[in-house]
């Protein structure tokens, strides 16, 4: 059985936290450049240019793109034939977060208890999602998620009778209600199907797809296109100050669901769409 040491996992998580916070992905940069060409609002265009400049400064000066360096969401795909040695996996990941946030001068934004609200001082714990998959590798994806956009998440347990129109209405309403708060232009993650918690998970996972990629199912990718058009007709625009580019992309992930259910969830991602991954 292949063995993987927790020391390596810790070092990689630390590196991914820092890289995700300093360097915007090429897919997001490209989408922002395209948005700057398409935006009709002069103020909107200026904001989009500021965001492109911001990405340059962050990467050059090695400082975070946004001061909200987020709650660290970690997505693991662990091969069932892999053995983790040297310590506890959860602690190895949290140690990576601790190290990355200290060495990278990243903000510590986590309080230990939602009501007591005392800062843990090292940005731990992470939120860790694990899938067991065939093989003997470990894939680690780190997504530092800012609260401005996360606070605008939503879930609706629709009736099957509400159908695709109900789904669209809920998503458009969620984006409109969020307005300027989640820092548009957005990447809109949508979960469709499953149970209440499954669909929320899918909405978050949808953010990991390359910006602008389409769902392989033509019916779903059609819905992605229609929603993007609908969202960009809302007029919210960059930073919510009015404009044509409210979202850069809509990504939908689906799952089977119960005969009585039509769950839909929205997770909004600000333009600082940060995630980095590695396979060990």
């Amino acid at each position: 059985m292949r063995q993987l040491s927790t020391d390596l996992i810790t070092a990689e998580v630390a590196r991914l936290c820092i890289e995700a916070n300093y360097n915007l992905g090429e897919d997001v940069l490209q989408a922002l450049r395209k948005a700057a060409e398409q935006e009709e609002s002069p103020l909107g265009r200026e904001i989009l240019h500021q965001l492109l400049q911001n990405a340059e400064v962050a990467s050059r000066e090695k400082i975070p793109l946004c001061q909200d360096t987020g709650f660290v969401d970690v997505f693991l795909q662990a091969g069932q034939d892999l053995k983790i040695v040297g310590g506890e996996l959860t602690e190895a990941i949290n140690e990576g977060v601790r190290r990355g946030y200290k060495e990278g001068y990243l903000r510590k934004s986590i309080v230990s208890d939602p009501l007591g609200r005392v800062n843990t001082g090292d940005n731990t714990p992470a939120v860790i999602h694990t899938e067991i998959v065939p093989g003997d590798r470990l894939k680690i994806v780190v997504l530092p998620k800012g609260a401005g956009s996360e606070n605008m998440s939503g879930l609706a347990m629709l009736r099957p009778a509400d159908g695709v129109d109900g789904v669209k209405r809920f998503i458009l309403d969620s984006v409109e209600k969020a307005g300027a708060n989640p820092c548009p232009p957005l990447i809109v993650g949508v979960g469709l199907g499953g149970t209440a918690e499954k669909t929320l998970y899918l909405a978050k996972k949808a953010l990991l797809r390359p910006v602008g990629s389409s769902h392989p199912d033509p019916m779903v990718s059609q819905l992605e296109r229609e929603l993007l058009e609908g969202i960009n007709a809302l007029g919210i625009g960059p930073q919510g100050l009015g404009g044509r580019v409210t979202a850069l992309a809509v990504h939908i992930e689906t799952y089977a669901c119960h005969i009585a259910s039509l769950p839909v969830a929205v997770n909004l991602q600000c333009h600082a769409a940060r995630h980095k991954e590695t396979v060990l």
Binding site: S41, Q53, V57, P64, L65, C66, D68, G148, N181
Partner: protein, 184 residues
């Protein structure tokens, strides 16, 4: 797009009266940072008739919790946080002479009403541009609530910090106007 206006804090009645929603402004001078937890403490201090850590008259509060500074730098990344969370705390501070707040996102009806009543403005800074905006901050010093970490109150000295007037003293709201203009 409007001409750039240059303004130095603290804000005078004259400064405030010429600003209109949609104006692009380069701010220089002192800003005070405060966000959720610091606001809670400011309001507690007011309620118990205790002293405030700084005199609010004519000042601007910037809603931000910066990331730690690298050695040799005054501050880390320092963009705005979402302002609606500070809405419940804002009117009493405006009543004491605070002349500007700065963050991102629309304000509540109560805050908009208080901005008119107390003649103060709300500036929008670009959310998620904390690296770029940090280049306009030349000095940073914690003046209160150090135990709050990123939420401590800092006195910042800024030069040509780019903001947009979102709400002026005449009741205009750039968020409402902008959406209406571009909605299909």
């Amino acid at each position: 797009m409007s001409e750039l206006k240059r303004i130095t804090t603290p804000l005078s009645e004259q400064d405030i009266s010429v600003l209109r929603s949609g104006d692009r402004v380069l701010l220089s001078g002192v800003l005070y940072t405060a966000r959720d937890a610091a606001h809670q403490r400011l309001i507690q201090a007011l309620q118990s008739n205790g002293p405030l850590p700084f005199d609010l008259a004519g000042q601007v509060i910037y809603y931000t919790g910066p990331s730690p500074a690298r050695p040799g730098r005054p501050i880390g990344s320092a963009g705005p946080t979402t302002s609606y969370r500070m809405d419940p705390y804002t009117p009493p501070l405006l009543a004491l002479g605070l002349k500007g707040t700065m963050g991102k996102g629309a304000r509540s009806a109560q805050v908009k009403q208080a901005l008119r009543q107390y003649r103060a403005v709300y500036f929008a800074a670009t959310g998620g541009a904390g690296a770029l905006l940090s280049q306009c901050i030349v000095q940073s010093e914690i003046i209160a609530y150090e135990d709050l970490g990123p939420e401590a109150i800092r006195r910042l000295l800024v030069r040509d910090f780019p903001v947009i007037v979102a709400n002026d003293i005449y009741g205009n709201d750039l968020y409402e106007q902008g959406w209406k203009k571009y909605r299909k």
